[in-house]
Amino acid sequence: MNNMANETFRNIRLGVFVVVGTLLLVTAFYLVGNKQNLFGSSFRISARFYNVNGLTQGNNVRFAGIDVGTVETVNIENDSTVIVVMLLEKDVQKFIKGNAIASVGTDGLMGNKLVNINSVKDLGLSIKEGDELRTLRPLEMDEMVRTLNETNINIKVITDNLRSITEKISSKNSLWNVLLDTIVADNVKSAVVNLKLMSNDGIAITGNLKELARQMRYGKGTIAALITDTVLSGRINQTIVKLEKFSDTAAVISGDISYLVQQLKHGKGSMGVLLTDTMLVHDLNKSILRIDTAAGSFNENMEALQYSWPFKKYYKKKGKK
């Protein structure tokens, strides 16, 4: 009986041992799976890249710098497109907008590759299962190095130029020597003296100008008269007043005219009858036609006149002119 109890106690301890070991393993499996989003609800989105820079299955996806999922597949679609399918946690779906931008980045300087999803300022709808994000072309090390190379070449050219400039400066016929030359310095000195004289003359001129201005102010000379004459300005004022009056009357006249036109339109007065009567217009047309023929015969008469002797002389004279 004692032996049996002992056996049971052993079995219990064995059971605890096995259960603890199994639980540890299951917990580890769960935690690892949890980190890879194998459990819990998730959703898939995709993005098309030109170049994924070594991104592989299982790499992290970050939204605003937080790990929110993993890369599920990386497949080549065609010669210039790689499609990356990402598995993200359901919780972040409402924060990621459809216009967010995905880019391939690196964790630290040499760490794992990852996909960064960054939101943009514009408003947008939350992303849905299966949506595709816009992408940025990743920064390629090669390209950077190529640009650096160009920069280096440019720097080389610049430094070469700088060197030749400094060489020229330190050589004999240089600007520096010119600066050191005493003759040049003398010339410069005399030039400065001349400048000083010139400025003195300038002072005298401005003094004269000042005097002139003063005289003008006190009404001396013709220009001064023009500028300072108060009587003239009074006259001009009067003229302006008259002009004003005239324009007032003009306004009255134009008002009258418009009234007249109004009355004419409505056929009042003899003038109105004249203008609005169509019969009269007809008659007038007829009269004008008659006048036309009359003018034609008048012309003929005049031509005949040219050749009649009393006027012949006159026309000859005119023709000569």
Binding site: R10, N11, R13, F17, A28, L31, V32
Partner: protein, 255 residues
Amino acid sequence: MAFEAIKKVLAEAGDIARFTARFFSEAFRPRFEFTEFLRQCFFIGYKSLPLVAITAFIMGLVITIQSRPTLVEFGAESWLPKMVSVSLVREIAPVITALICAGKIGSGIGAELGSMKVTEQIDSMEVSGTNPFKYLIATRVLASTFMIPILAVIADAVSLYGGFLGANIHGAVSWTLFWNQVFETLQYGDIVPSILKTYFFGFAIGIIGCYKGYNSNKGTEGVGRSANSAVVISSLLVFVIDLLAVQISDLLNLT
């Protein structure tokens, strides 16, 4: 002479293979010695736990302390939990567990069965109608096959705890951050192959111990020799199996 030695090694390898084949043909046929199996599980698994736990804890602590200077040189001190967790879970904890068990269980089984053999207890068991192969060998081999993986899992956990303490000697890594980093780094490809190979470790330890004990001779002297060679061969086999397991998991891309 060399030929003789090679012949002897090959003969023993063949013998072990035949012994293994006999195990497979007898172990899975009724009737099962379930109570004896549990008793062996208790002795092989539960009784080895303190030894394995202490070893694993020290290994975790030491590996962390030893890895730190190199990582500091790279300025990657924050990667300490990641690096330590991968090396512990993938390699160190399972292999250390298997080696400790090879020493403890292999020698135990070899000595126990060897002494039973030389005192002719096994023969008398056969006479009394009990199948000694089922009762003594199948139970021990199965027990070590199933207990060593559990010991390895516990060793993983304890060694990671040692790693946590080691990381906190010079640096400051919070409990949550440490485990977060550990499980961020670990993949199924790290855990599953490392646990699967411990089944093979356990099987190898059990079968070699039993073979050596079961084939013990030359009296009391033979008991010591069989215990000794059981430890040596099973320890060697642990490394050979480890090599194979790593190669296979590498070929299958389980990384």
